[in-house]
């Protein structure tokens, strides 16, 4: 196991590459989904409030 993570002495480089790539892609995915959700909430509130006024 430890040997696997050591990557023949190149562990830092290999895991640094895949790790950062994974972190960026996961963060992007989470942000995109969240942005969509909050936007729907915000606009929904606006639409409802306007329809109450009318």
């Amino acid at each position: 196991m430890a040997e696997f993570f050591a990557m023949g002495g190149h562990g830092f480089y290999v895991w640094g590459s895949f790790g950062v790539a994974a972190v960026f892609m996961i963060i992007e995915a989470v942000l995109v989904v969240r942005q969509k959700r909050t936007l729907v909430q915000r606009l929904g509130r606006m639409v409802r409030m306007n329809s109450e006024v009318e």
Binding site: V20, A21, F24, E28, V32, G44
Partner: protein
């Protein structure tokens, strides 16, 4: 992808369509990533020359390819938006830019981490590396311009124009950098290693690379579709169909 984009070029009909297909792309991407990562770490054999370090290739090369593809696609969308004045096109362009920038950054980052053990340095001013760096600047310029303009309609038109100017310039930049580097053959380290790699690439390595690349493709499509849905909502929030849809939701 056999979707007829033009049929769905109206945001109101594209919005639900994108919502339906995006999860499937995301799902496929996840499976491909699992398979690709398994192959990269447990199946692909150790490289006789570079040892285990070469496994960085399985993320580096797909990211580098994606960074270039996405820019071209983005510019095509922007051009379509300027020429046919379809609203959806410029929205697609803005939806793609952040993902492209992220892949560019990943390519640079993984390349640097690969270069240190292989070449003994994080960075050399090689043509390929330099043009990738310039590509990052172009992405960032596009996004900075878009975020600096408050009015979303104006932002879309301005950044679309910039992408269009960029598309004419990118090949010029690419070849000039290529030429710049070959004229000065003084670099202490050259990229000739990669040429050596091609021959040593086994079939399984090639397959792994392809699967990782497809995973990135599907990831990009899923992300772009989701993001374009947000953009559609934001820019079309005045339209009746958005209001009716939001009224229906909850």
């Amino acid at each position: 992808m056999s979707i007829n984009w033009f049929k769905y070029s109206a945001p109101s009909s594209f919005y639900p369509l994108a919502g339906k297909v995006a999860p499937w792309f995301a799902f496929t991407a996840a499976i491909l990533f699992v398979v690709g990562l398994y192959l990269s770490f447990f199946v692909a054999p150790t490289d006789y020359k570079q040892g285990e370090g070469y496994r960085i290739m399985f993320i580096h090369v797909p990211a580098a390819w994606m960074s270039m593809f996405i820019y071209i696609i983005m510019a095509c969308w922007a051009a379509a938006g300027m020429i046919w004045r379809t609203r959806l096109s410029s929205m697609m362009a803005s939806a793609l830019a952040p993902t492209g920038a992220i892949f560019t950054f990943i390519a640079l980052w993984t390349g640097a981490l690969w270069g240190k053990p292989m070449w003994g340095t994080w960075w050399v001013w090689d043509a390929r590396l330099t043009s990738e760096l310039i590509l990052l600047f172009l992405y960032i310029g596009f996004m900075a311009l878009e975020s600096a303009i408050d009015d979303p309609r104006r932002a879309a038109r301005a950044s679309g124009l910039l992408a269009l100017v960029g598309v004419i310039n990118v090949p010029i930049i690419y070849y000039s950098v290529q030429w710049w580097n070959t004229l000065h053959q003084g670099a202490s380290i050259k990229m000739s290693e990669s040429g050596g790699m091609e021959t040593s690439m086994t079939e399984i390595m090639l397959w792994t690379l392809l699967i990782m690349t497809f995973a990135c493709w599907f990831y990009t499509i899923a992300i772009a579709l989701t993001r374009v849905r947000s953009i559609i909502l934001e820019r079309e929030s005045n339209n009746v169909w958005v209001k009716e849809m939001l009224q229906g939701e909850r």
